[in-house]
């Protein structure tokens, strides 16, 4: 009895004298999304100071820049996961234009039901995404070159096919068929891609005087656009996949060291090809939502979106050479983007400064992320 009480608890594992404790702050700093969250708070503070009373932060204002962020956020999920796997896709913007055409042409010219046309657009785009990925893994060429080729091919195809089949490059109607009405008439398309959610809540807020109302008593801000819902759902699924699933571990491994991943038996090619298909899926979703919102498809849609998606992923903490990054960070990157793009119009600053600001932010984000990663993740000084 005495013996056992003297023995006490089992001896604690001896502590290595060369390892020091890690504080909470340090752990927080080592997270890939830290920079993007800090940046979002900083930008938010800046706009609250310079445009706090301008209408940027009432319901319509928030929905306004939130929608811009959501569109970008949708393609950023794909871009971020692909970048973490060590590749990137410059054909996203062209894919948006192409997918829009692949949806509008069947509805207007061939009389397909809108939902069938939407599925057709997804199928076409994801096949092209798979082709992108297949060429990258088979040839071993940098994805920069392969997807740059598709950047031109798809943009050219969108224009050429549209002109060949319809004689126009902007499609909104053909005879009696009006694109918006046709889509609205398809219950699945209307449910998934059109309109808003929480309209009742917004109207209730308006009737209570918490939000600006129209003359008929409904809220000025109609509700939360569906694109915001898609963005949040995709981000949640992407972040969960990366952090918690086997496939997430494979993505990190493939991007961190493809050779190592291959040697432990991870199907490197399949992982990469499936992520190229994911970026194509995201681009098509962007296109469908945009066509539903605009009521037209145009061959020049999605210009520069590939760069914006990459910028957002980088601001979100993704390393350009892969192996490290965050989907949540990319969502915050998209939020920064939306706030700056729209918010600058609420201030007295000339709109042209937007791009200057964006470029500077990209540079700061990369330098900051590199510094934080080497100092706090790898422990180098």
């Amino acid at each position: 009895m005495l013996d056992s009480s003297l023995a006490g608890p089992p001896a604690a594992t001896p502590i290595d004298e060369r390892v020091r404790g890690v504080g909470t702050v340090r752990k927080l700093l080592a997270r890939p999304e830290f920079g993007a969250i800090a940046g979002t708070l900083l930008i938010l503070a800046l706009f609250l100071m310079s445009a706090g009373d301008s209408g940027m932060f009432n319901a319509e204002g928030i929905i306004n820049w939130g929608t811009v962020a959501a569109y970008l956020g949708v393609i950023a999920v794909g871009a971020a996961l692909l970048m973490i796997a060590g590749e990137f896709d410059l054909s996203v913007g062209s894919m948006i234009g192409f997918a829009g055409m692949m949806m509008a042409i069947p509805i207007l010219e061939w009389g397909w039901s809108p939902m069938t046309a939407v599925l057709f657009a997804f199928a076409c785009a994801m096949m092209l995404g798979a082709l992108n990925g297949w060429i990258v893994v088979r040839t071993g060429l940098p994805s920069f070159i392969v997807t740059l080729a598709f950047f031109f091919i798809l943009r050219g195809l969108s224009l050429a096919i549209a002109v060949l089949l319809t004689g126009k490059t902007i499609l909104s109607s053909n005879g009696d068929v009006i694109l918006r009405e046709a889509m609205q008439a398809d219950p699945m398309v209307a449910l998934l891609f059109m309109g808003h959610v929480l309209t009742g809540l917004f109207d209730a807020c308006a009737s209570l005087g918490w939000m600006a109302a129209r003359d008929d008593g409904t809220a000025l801000a109609i509700g939360i656009p569906k694109v915001v819902v898609w963005w949040l759902v995709l981000t949640a699924v992407g972040a969960f996949t990366l952090a918690r699933t086997r496939f997430g571990n494979w993505i990190l491994a493939v991007g961190g060291d493809a050779n190592a991943a291959k040697n432990v038996g991870i199907p490197v090619s399949s992982v990469k090809i499936s992520l190229f298909m994911l970026t194509a899926f995201c681009a098509t979703l962007f296109a469908v939502l945009q066509v539903a919102d605009a009521g037209s498809a145009a061959a020049d849609r999605g210009l520069q979106k590939e760069f914006e998606a990459i910028i957002v992923a980088v601001i979100g903490g993704c390393l350009l050479r892969g192996g490290y990054g965050s989907v949540i960070g990319a969502a915050f990157g998209a939020l920064i983007f939306g706030m700056v793009q729209i918010g600058i119009g609420y201030t007295s600053i000339d709109n042209n400064w937007y791009r200057v600001f964006l470029g500077a932010m990209l540079l700061i984000a990369v330098i900051f992320n590199n510094y934080v990663r080497s100092r706090y993740s790898l422990g180098k000084s």
Partner: protein
């Protein structure tokens, strides 16, 4: 049951006009440490890749437990219990210890009974335990591998191979990039693996590292085997001479007065 757990019989491998391996025979006994020695260009890498299932031999036979096999991929080799720890270790520096340990063979549990997710708790617990068995303490399994020393990484890679049921462990120059103390740690680890009944093929060009741990030695030179010797049959000096191709070494050392390699 065959005396040998792994055999290469008269194996040749060609790359176009290049004869990378020519009639090499290598026989690994159960539970022995078999050192494969050779200078640069001797064909060590080709031999490892043939053993690991990366290359198929163009001529000759590959036997495991006395049965002829044809391994078409590294996965086939792993399934057959032949694990290779390459010089690059197949570790990803920016991933955590737990994620690296189970890379490609992640433990899965069902979240809420349905959703298959990676079981990080199990992965972290087992990786810390197995590293502790090897005498490596990690502060936590969330630590990224990039913060570990070269010796610790080597141990992690070996611990991983053993955990996943390697019967034959092929170590590709595990001490090449390490300091004196860390090399000693890795050599101790090789002895530990042998104590557990694992057969080890230890590839090195350092006879000083091979001699204390090896039970038998096979020498490669210019794609050919120069024979296999048991520990008692050969001295370290003979090993060195044969690796360097016989007389060259003694002439080389004449010029460098007082140097021993």
């Amino acid at each position: 049951m065959s005396d040998y757990i792994l055999q290469l019989e008269d194996v040749s491998k060609f790359f176009g006009p290049v004869i990378a391996l020519s009639g090499v025979t290598l026989r690994l006994k159960r539970g022995e440490v078999h050192c494969l020695l050779g200078d640069n260009g001797a064909g060590k890498s080709t031999l490892i890749k043939t053993l690991a299932g990366v290359h198929m031999p163009d001529k000759g036979r590959y036997l495991l437990n006395g049965k002829e096999v044809s391994l078409r991929s590294p996965c086939d080799a792993l399934d057959a219990g032949v694990a290779t720890v390459y010089q690059d270790l197949a570790l990803v520096p920016l991933m955590s210890v737990g994620r690296n340990f189970f890379m490609g063979r992640e433990p899965v549990r069902r979240l809420l009974g349905v959703l298959p997710v990676m079981d990080h708790e199990t992965a972290n617990r087992i990786s810390v335990e197995k590293l502790a068995d090897m005498g490596i303490r990690v502060r936590d399994a969330e630590q990224v591998v990039g913060t570990m020393s070269g010796g610790e990484k080597q141990c992690l890679a070996i611990a991983r191979a053993i955990y996943f049921g390697a019967q034959v462990l092929i170590l590709d120059e595990p001490t090449a990039a390490l300091g004196v103390k860390q090399s000693a740690n890795v050599l101790r680890l090789i002895i530990k693996a042998r104590e557990r009944g694992i057969s080890v093929i230890f590839i090195t060009h350092n006879a000083n590292h091979a001699f204390p741990v090896g039970d038998s030695f096979t020498l490669l030179n210019r794609g050919q085997s120069m024979g296999t010797y048991a520990k008692g049959e050969i001295s370290k000096e003979d090993l060195l001479d044969m690796m360097a191709g016989g007389t060259e070494m003694s002439t080389l050392l004449d010029d460098l007065d007082g140097v021993t390699i």
